[in-house]
Amino acid sequence: GLFVWRLRDAGVRQIPYRFVHLYHKANDRLITFQYFNFLKRMYVTQYNKDLSQQAKPKSDSIVSPYHELQRLDQEKKVAHKISSVSPIQQSWSETSSRNELREMKSAAETEDSVVPVGAESKEDRQWKEMKLRLDDLPGILARLSKIKLTALVVSTASAGFAMAPVPFELTCFLLASLGTGLASCAANSINQFFEVPFDSNMNRTKNRPLVRGQISPLLAVCFAASCGVPGIALLTLGVNPLTGALGAFNIFLYTCCYTPLKRMSIANTWVGAVVGAIPPIMGWTAATGSLDAGALLLGGILYSWQFPHFNALSWGLREDYSRGGYCMMSVTHPGLCRRVALRHCLALIGLSTVAPVLDITTWTFPIISLPINLYISYLGFRFYRDADRSSSRKLFFCSLWHLPMLLLVMFTCKKSVLEKDDKSDLPGRSCERAMEIRLP
């Protein structure tokens, strides 16, 4: 577990520096835009290869409206025959650059990370038979379930499990992780099922399986059901009913509240933050069987983290959100967007200080975590004051390494179980009890 965190941490740090370097280069010549995208994809795929499971921190598109207008202009000049019935294969090389635009990954609880498409973009322009090929299926389902995001969600749940003040039980841990993973797959699949025409219109999401017709909506729903039902059942029966209930509630919150709300009101961001906060709570309840203050604190930390993360990301996606009809703070209430991000950066400092009070960690935790919390608050303040692309990007990238570091530090500062009274033994049995009941 620790090894993975460290790798993640190291990998992520490199990217901002390389990005900044590339950004300066690319700014000089517009032609390097395609080259830049190629590089982005290149180091993204390299990053893919290492052990870390974190969703790829896709560098934000550097394309300002200036570049986009340029391209639009070029496209208008090209004579296009658009016929929805034409079976003629068209190679749209002049528009392939537009296709390769990649936007940042958005809030961890909601959006997936884009898989680098690379050579597929040319194939993309051809007519494809809508037939499901079995050897493509694993890849398609991985993208449908946003597997990388799911991995992140499972790791926050494991963090919650690890922080619980009970002796560690491996079977319980594995069951809880698996159940959470399945629930997350189900929720993500349903989300994509609902959003097909909107995803087609946004650059970040236009290569999803349902948008490309690689899988039918029916199959997507069946997959979601076949993940969700066993996942929740596993949590309820194999771990404890409270975790199962939280998992089911989270799926409901994500698919039936957050997804439709995205297009109705800016309240979606707060709902989405709750969705992101629930997995660590689930991890904690899986270990202890009860909803203590510690669980809520961990949930609170993740809840607060979502805001600088997502608000910074959404700052660069305003055009797509506006056109796609998504109600996001960055578009409708930009001042609020930045204020909230800053507010929650500061809240993280507060929450870190509360941790030792609740006996979850020792007092070294707020002290050691103070530098990183102050740093993200500083970036949050810069974002608040400057309100420009560079400060939003800095804040976003910071949030990507800030969270794993914070959780890691929290774990290392965890108050040892041996220091506590014997009564901590009882909650740990909740998982075993559930399993004993199952066995005849």
Binding site: E129, R323, D388
Partner: protein
């Protein structure tokens, strides 16, 4: 798609709507249920295409107008000395994005409702068709075994 193909074909994204058009295969012995499904999908596709093509074109047009009016207010031309098209930075465009979103919110709410209804209906029909086909296949197998 080739004439002998027995499946649907999906094409590249449309330039205006960004949606991928589908050409539906009509099997010779298409049942009434299958026909309903196909027609529902065709109708949804046409409706989506209309909405998004018009919406995106409106967006582009209004964006151009906004840029033009802002540039004029600043006393600049559409193209600068190097011949490249002048534009506004992200912060100036933010006003436009906010405006556009609030103007179109109602339209989007209506579209959302329609889309969700259509999506559920199509998926449900797909489920029915799949079930009928599975039963037919099982019956066929049973008949083959008995023979």
């Amino acid at each position: 798609p080739p004439a002998h193909s027995h499946s649907d074909w999906i094409g590249p994204p449309d330039k205006h709507s960004n949606l991928r058009p589908i050409i539906f295969y009509v099997p010779p012995e298409e049942t009434a249920l299958e026909r309903r499904l196909r027609e529902a999908r065709q109708e949804a596709q046409a409706s989506n295409q209309r909405f998004w093509a018009r919406h995106n074109c409106t967006f582009r047009q209004e964006k151009e107008e906004f840029i033009y009016s802002r540039l004029k207010a600043k006393g600049l031309e559409m193209r600068d000395e190097s011949g490249q098209k002048a534009t506004l930075n992200a912060e100036e465009m933010a006003d436009f994005y906010k405006d556009f979103l609030s103007k179109n919110l109602k339209k989007h709410l209506q579209y959302n409702r329609d889309w969700y209804k259509r999506n559920f209906r199509i998926t449900f029909l797909m489920g029915q068709v799949a079930l009928v086909r599975a039963l037919r296949w099982l019956r066929q197998r049973k008949k083959n075994v008995e023979q």
